[in-house]
Symmetry: C2
Subunit: 231 residues, 2 copies
């Protein structure tokens, strides 16, 4: 172990494999010096719709939701996403200002690098550029296909779908604490809060899930998968 490692943890960060794989150690070192880590408590805003984009940000730990506010003031939740997906993913290269807001739904840590630094790397290092493009494309693909998956389902299918999303994609456990309000699930799947709750109650009554306040246990995942498909 050389001395650098004491000051820079980026070298061993899991994120390195994802977009920073093609950077040599000295560049990683430089990245690390340019990087700041910011902590956000549950509920805090990370990016605000309309704000100028000056930084490249990615989620190191925690969980965030991407959303926007409609003209009538309602929230539309675009996605809820885990570490190593970009936080400022959408518009960093296409827009001057954020199109959407991002907030922490669990306590989160975000790594922040000046966008110019990333752009510079992007221009100079083709492999890095390709890796970044690929990653950004994948994130966008995922958002779009998720949106379509939700859209094709009815109320029951949508609720089943988010439960499976939490259990399979976010937490990888059958029992977990819902990080969001019932209302936020409603805003995510485009249904009313009352009906989301009603459907959860139905699932509970049928023994598909157990609910203790915020804690949810998936009891019958097969049935949930069937409901997610057939509605």
């Amino acid at each position: 172990m050389n001395e650098k490692n004491k000051y820079c943890v980026c070298e061993s960060c899991e994120f390195r494999d994802i977009v920073f794989a093609y950077l040599d150690d000295s560049t990683i070192q430089e990245l690390c010096n340019n990087k700041e880590e910011h902590s956000f408590r549950k509920g805090e805003i990370i990016n605000h719709e309309g704000e100028k984009i000056t930084d490249f940000k990615y989620l190191k730990s925690g969980l965030v939701k991407l959303f926007r506010r409609t003209s009538t003031g309602e929230e539309q939740v675009i996605t809820i996403t885990r570490p190593f997906e970009f936080v400022s993913n959408m518009s960093i290269f296409s827009e001057e200002r954020y199109r959407y807001s991002v907030s922490a739904v669990e306590d989160s840590v975000v790594c922040v690098v000046k966008l110019d630094f990333i752009k510079d790397l992007f221009m100079k290092n083709g492999s890095f550029a390709m890796g970044l493009l690929t990653k950004i494309s994948k994130i966008n693909d995922k958002i779009i296909s998720q949106t379509l998956d939700i859209r094709q389902r009815n109320l029951i299918g949508r609720v089943a779908f988010v439960l499976l999303y939490f259990t399979n994609e976010i937490y990888n456990t059958r029992i977990f604490d819902l990080p969001v309000l019932r209302k936020e699930i409603a805003d995510y799947i485009g249904m009313s809060t009352a009906n989301v709750i009603r459907t959860l109650s139905d699932f509970k009554r049928e023994g598909i899930i157990k609910v203790f306040g915020k804690t949810i246990e998936i009891v019958d995942i097969n049935k949930l998968e069937i409901l997610s498909k057939r509605g």
Copy 2:
């Protein structure tokens, strides 16, 4: 004028400004030699969901729709888009196979370049890479925001929204021929065919539009804009 121009029209193609701005003339020439133009008749499939992606394709003229088929066999239309948006936009850098199908809704011409050629350029030329990333991001942004715009509206708002989309974004005229079936509009906005037709009839009855078969004239665009907002 030198001799090259006789063989290559890419130099003066409108598309050059959009993503090929940072290529010098000799590279453009090379691009041109690697390029093929393919014509598609209305209704023909350009890319098929699940097919291997080997080419970089962009729409030179015409109009296409991007869509996928759900497990129950229904079509979900993701977007309907004009020239110089990519045809094979979504997954070229993130997936090995097309996630979605693309078909021509009007007779269309598509320019086809081997994806490897583009990837090679991307690696070597930072400005080109940046331009391409920006363009791809914008296209993805547009799809996502369009999807959200549709989702927040009710039936009337959605129909008004597509009419405005055709008149403002696609054709830039108040009178145009609908390039798609009523059913395809329904699949686009996520409503039933019958209700799309009913709503069009309502608009006609209220003097907001005139309909002669496939031809539609927007009579009262202000009212349409109000309906698109308020529903």
